[in-house]
């Protein structure tokens, strides 16, 4: 439905306010990679409705659990964790390298949909061939109402996609896709206890990682991890399927006639949700069929593993503001130097373009190195003692104390002022004069100052921070992180049915160590 007020300022303000409001209801919500454990998984393919931020309820098909799973990860647990009987994306299957994996798939799609199946690219899959299964073009299929069983060994670690191998143009579009993560069975010694681990412990942060390294390779350690699956929805296709779902049918190939061309998506999703819904918590009760979110947070210096999968039909130039990503692997294959396999060879990308069916693992890290000003507004001006801090460089030049709020500060820029004549208690003598706050508009994720963290922000703007505390998604007195937009750079995809903002967009927050990142919220 077209919104004729899309272009008005009022309309945009309302939507911006709505976006901020929804995020506030949830309290700062973080991510991590939740999923279910096996190694036997009892899945079903079934129909249900999923929701969009414009209020649309879209008839879809997805994988879900036909019975309670063996367990949930991460170990620390997430509130409301559950495996519904249908979800989009499908449940994230988490296994260990060497596991013998069994997936029982029951076809609970409407009879009119015909058979269904799952492909597990990257693995050597054997399928059952008993009654209720049928030969498919790409994989053994489950006939309507019956179950097919796939078995394979999770030979190598990494992130991979899984998706329907039957009538993919319809079934994948309808939502039959998910991720399977294989964790390495040996942790490289240098990854097992790092200074970032100590910093987390010092700040009483729980560990939500699935593992300490993405692969059994010393260069693949990580401190946080997120999974992002990109997909689209063309409502015309879903509507056709909805209209024909009741057609009586006994054909293996179904009885629906659904045109999947011309393809004109109106919804673009990360982990099955459009912005701003994707920034609400995992397992949020308002999206029972869309349990996973996209709401990355990290501290400076934390190696953040991005597990990125292209689902759907289109490529999406997924652009990470804030820094490059070092690609570790493609479809679970580590990219290593030909002459020295201890060294990585994946490219550095600021736009990690997704391709349907393809997965990649990459590492992102932010430190602020090279800005030429102190992001904490530190100074050694004796008249500003509250702005003083130490920065003792480690071998790479970063502050070496994991218990300090400025752990991983780039000491090369320590005490360098940004502002020429600041009002607040931050360094002066810098190169710029900030604009009058009256001639700028503040964004909902603006921390309140150019500086990182509530301490620096409060010093910089004084006792009445702009914007006032508590009314935005990145409170100046509580979080005051650096927000970076992570989004598809095919910009029309950051819309929800013609409304901006929406679609494939999320805000990544680099938080000072003063702010506890709790991924269970």
């Amino acid at each position: 439905m077209r919104d004729t007020n899309t272009k008005t300022l009022v309309g945009r303000l309302l939507r911006g306010a709505a976006a901020a409001f929804v995020s506030l209801l949830a309290v700062p919500a973080q991510a991590g990679v939740p999923g279910i454990t096996g190694p036997t998984f009892n899945l079903r393919a079934g129909p249900a409705y999923i929701s969009q931020p414009d209020g649309a309820s879209i008839y879809s098909w997805g994988y879900g659990c036909s019975q309670s799973p063996a367990g949930f990860l991460p170990v620390v647990g997430m509130p409301n964790q559950n495996c519904p009987d249908m979800q989009i994306p499908g449940p994230t299957l988490i296994v260990h390298q060497g596991d013998m994996v069994t997936v029982n798939l029951t076809n609970n799609l409407p009879a009119a949909a015909g058979n269904t199946s799952i492909l597990f690219p990257g693995f050597q899959v054997t399928a059952s061939s008993g009654v209720g299964t049928a030969v498919g073009v790409l994989a053994r299929e489950a006939v309507n109402g019956s179950t097919v069983t796939y078995t394979f060994t999770a030979t190598t670690p990494g992130t991979r996609a899984y998706y329907s191998g039957t009538q993919g143009d319809l079934q994948i579009e309808m939502g039959l896709y998910g991720a399977i993560i294989v964790l390495p069975n040996t942790v490289p010694p240098n990854c097992s206890s790092t200074l970032n681990d100590q910093a987390k412990a010092a700040n009483s942060e729980l560990d939500f990682r699935l593992a300490k390294a993405a692969y059994s390779h010393a260069a693949t350690c990580y401190d946080r991890e997120y999974l992002f699956q990109f997909s689209e929805i063309d409502p015309a296709i879903h509507r056709q399927a909805e209209e024909q779902k009741g057609v009586p049918c006994t054909n293996n190939s179904g009885c629906m006639v659904v045109e999947t061309e011309v393809y004109k998506p109106a919804y673009y999703m990360i982990n099955g949700r459009s912005m701003p819904d994707n920034m609400d918590p995992h397992y949020a009760v308002q999206y029972p069929r869309q349990p996973y979110n996209g709401n990355p947070h990290m501290h400076p210096g934390e190696l953040t593993l991005l597990r990125i999968i292209g689902q759907g039909r289109w490529q999406h130039p997924f652009h990470e503001h804030g820094n490059h990503v070092r690609v570790l692997a493609r479809d679970g294959n580590l990219l290593l130097s030909e002459t020295d396999t201890t060294k990585l060879a994946g490219p550095l990308l600021f736009t990690t373009t997704t391709t349907p069916g393809q997965a990649m693992d990459g590492i992102f890290v932010w430190t602020g190195k090279g800005l030429n000003w102190d992001v904490f507004g530190h100074t050694n001006d004796p008249l500003k003692p509250t702005a003083a801090a130490t920065c003792t460089p480690d071998a790479n030049g970063y502050h070496n104390d994991p218990t300090a709020p400025n752990y991983y500060e780039w000491c090369g820029d320590h005490n360098k002022a940004l502002e020429s004549k600041p009002f607040g208690n931050v360094g002066s003598g810098g190169p710029v004069t900030l604009p009058d706050p009256g001639i700028v508009a503040n964004g909902p994720w603006y921390g309140g100052s150019p500086y990182l963290g509530p301490n620096a922000t409060t010093r910089a703007v004084g006792s009445t921070p702009i914007p006032p505390s508590g009314t935005v998604a990145n409170s100046p007195t509580d979080e005051a992180g650096f927000a970076f937009m992570w989004h598809s750079h095919n910009e029309r995809e950051i819309t929800t049915n013609n409304i901006f903002p929406g679609g494939m967009l999320m805000m990544m927050l680099v938080d000072s160590r003063e702010f506890v990142i709790n991924e269970s919220l």
Partner: protein
């Protein structure tokens, strides 16, 4: 007539003055210090490593390949106008930016071809400085409005800086005259900058955005060398489609090296990591501020046996990214329906968005090979230099051309193919293609494919010889760069045009006079 136009321009400025907070809080202003902590005065003169530029955020018109005058939102030049109209980057050192406009008052429609002033538009002596009359960044808003209104360029003004520079970019929001219903803010997002500051990242949701009638100065120490790009980040599905896209590249430190390139790289790697490292490989997984030494460099000294003295795309340490001429090329598409709707207050459809004009640096073939700036008449009756960048690729015989290619399409991917001369992709997303052990990962191809938000560097190498030692690409040859997405070779309903340009092998190029000799005729 002229006085009415000037009055119309003055209205937003007058509104600003009515609500002025006083001299300290002037809304329009530029910032370009002559010295900073890391770049002090040199012999009393402004430090040449401080680079400045001013741009307007507003609207304007451009001419499409089929002759259609199309409405844009865009950034226009408010400094470096003489260079911009010649198709050069508008970035100036502080000494070239901080010039009093008074002897050369700019006019509506500037820069016209031949325009001579490169300083900041509007910069005039400050009556309230102490002593009075200094250039403090105080600007005359009438001059800004005269030049800035409706002067949007496609693509936006070109920035070019060197590693170790400090860059002060002032964005001045002059309002959008054709859309009096809008009070759009604008921002500048430096796309791809490593370790970006959220405050200067230009994302309005994450920081601040400048209102109509105000100026905001972005500040960045130059990032690692490479081909980046920049664009507005306000309502990107709209502002980017409407044309608020531009290019920026950073020249490597290696351009200033005369001795062994590998030794210099090793030293630079060491400095980048605070000194406690060998400088042979990277200190962190993203190689922040560093480039691995090429495999084969001397492990102790870093020497590769290749001396500097040329122009390079990256700090390669071995001269492998050396080039003779460079050309920034921005791939972009316009949806004519969306641009029409954008001018006429109608609801915009993002699901229906379909580009029909396909451009290289703001022009479609054959305009891409038309030398000099392109002009478009705006609704005020004035000719503006709307599209100053041709993409004529001249290569001196036996030489190498660096194509700095970026893509800011908001809808789809495009391929650019080279018919004749192989392309060597040496960098992707502003990073040299080299693994962390120092092995060369560059590759030859005949085409590259980019989507919005991506960039890469290609070298067209015309130095090949045949087995009989005759040049493979002799002077006088002409080749083509075109999109094999054949539907992108159109100008809306015209079935030939679009993303295409010509590569000419010329006999020679004189860098002093900037004259090419022995080029193939059209």
């Amino acid at each position: 007539m002229v006085s009415i136009h000037r009055f119309v321009r003055l209205l937003p400025a007058m509104a600003v003055l009515l609500f002025a907070w006083g001299a300290v809080a002037q809304s329009f202003r530029v910032q370009c210090p002559t010295s900073t902590a890391i770049h002090p005065l040199i012999g009393g003169a402004p430090n040449p490593s401080i680079k400045c530029q001013q741009i307007s955020g507003g609207d304007g018109f451009a001419t499409m390949g089929d002759g259609t005058q199309t409405y844009l939102f865009g950034f226009g030049p408010l400094s470096g106008l003489a260079d911009i109209v010649k198709g050069l980057p508008g970035t100036q050192p502080a000494s070239g930016f901080n010039l009093d406009n008074s002897p050369n008052l700019p006019n509506i429609g500037d820069p016209q071809p031949g325009y001579g002033f490169n300083g900041a538009v509007g910069l005039v002596p400050d009556p309230e400085s102490d002593p009075a009359g200094q250039l403090t960044g105080h600007v005359d808003p009438r001059l800004i409005m005269d030049v800035g209104v409706m002067n949007a360029n496609q693509p936006a003004p070109l920035f070019a800086i060197d590693e170790d520079d400090e860059f002060f970019l002032t964005l001045t929001n002059v309002g959008q005259v054709m859309r009096p219903d809008l009070f759009e803010q604008h921002t500048v997002h430096f796309h791809g900058y490593p370790n970006a500051s959220s405050f200067y990242d230009g994302v309005p949701d994450a920081s601040i955005a400048i209102n109509v009638g105000g100026s905001f100065t972005y500040y960045y120490l130059a990032p690692e060398a490479g081909t980046y790009f920049w664009h507005c980040h306000i309502s990107p599905p709209e502002h980017l489609q409407m044309g608020m896209v531009g290019q920026i590249y950073v020249r490597p430190r290696q351009n200033r090296v005369t001795g062994d390139l590998g030794v210099a790289l090793k030293a630079a790697n060491t400095v980048a990591a605070y000194g406690g490292t060998t400088g042979v490989t990277c200190n962190d997984i993203l190689c922040t501020g560093q480039t691995p030494l090429p495999a084969g460099a001397n492990a102790t000294t870093g020497a590769t046996g290749v001396n500097g003295g040329g122009m390079y795309a990256y700090n390669d340490g071995d001269g492998s990214t050396r080039f003779d001429v460079e050309y920034p090329i921005q791939m972009m598409g316009f949806d004519p329906n969306f641009h029409f709707v954008g001018m006429t207050f109608n609801p915009e459809s993002f699901t229906d968005m379909k580009d029909k004009y396909f451009m290289l640096s703001g022009r479609s073939y054959p305009d891409t090979i038309s030398p000099g700036t392109m002009q478009t008449q705006s609704t005020d009756g004035t000719l503006h230099s709307s599209q100053p960048l041709p993409t004529i690729i001249n290569i001196p015989a036996g030489g190498r051309a660096l194509l700095r290619i970026s893509d800011l399409s908001v809808t789809e991917f495009s391929t650019l193919a080279s018919l004749g001369i192989p392309m060597k992709v040496i960098g992707i997303n502003a990073r040299l293609l080299r693994d962390t052990a120092g092995n060369d990962l560059s590759y030859y191809t005949n085409s590259i494919t980019l989507g919005g938000g991506e960039s890469l560097d290609v070298i067209l190498d015309a130095s090949g010889t045949n087995p009989d030692s005759t040049p493979k690409y002799p002077a006088g040859s002409k080749f083509y760069l075109y999109s094999p997405n054949l539907d992108h070779l159109s100008n809306d309903a015209e079935n030939f045009g679009g993303m295409m340009t010509e590569v000419n092998i010329c006999a020679s190029f004189d860098p002093t006079t900037k004259v090419w000799t022995g080029c193939p005729s059209i």
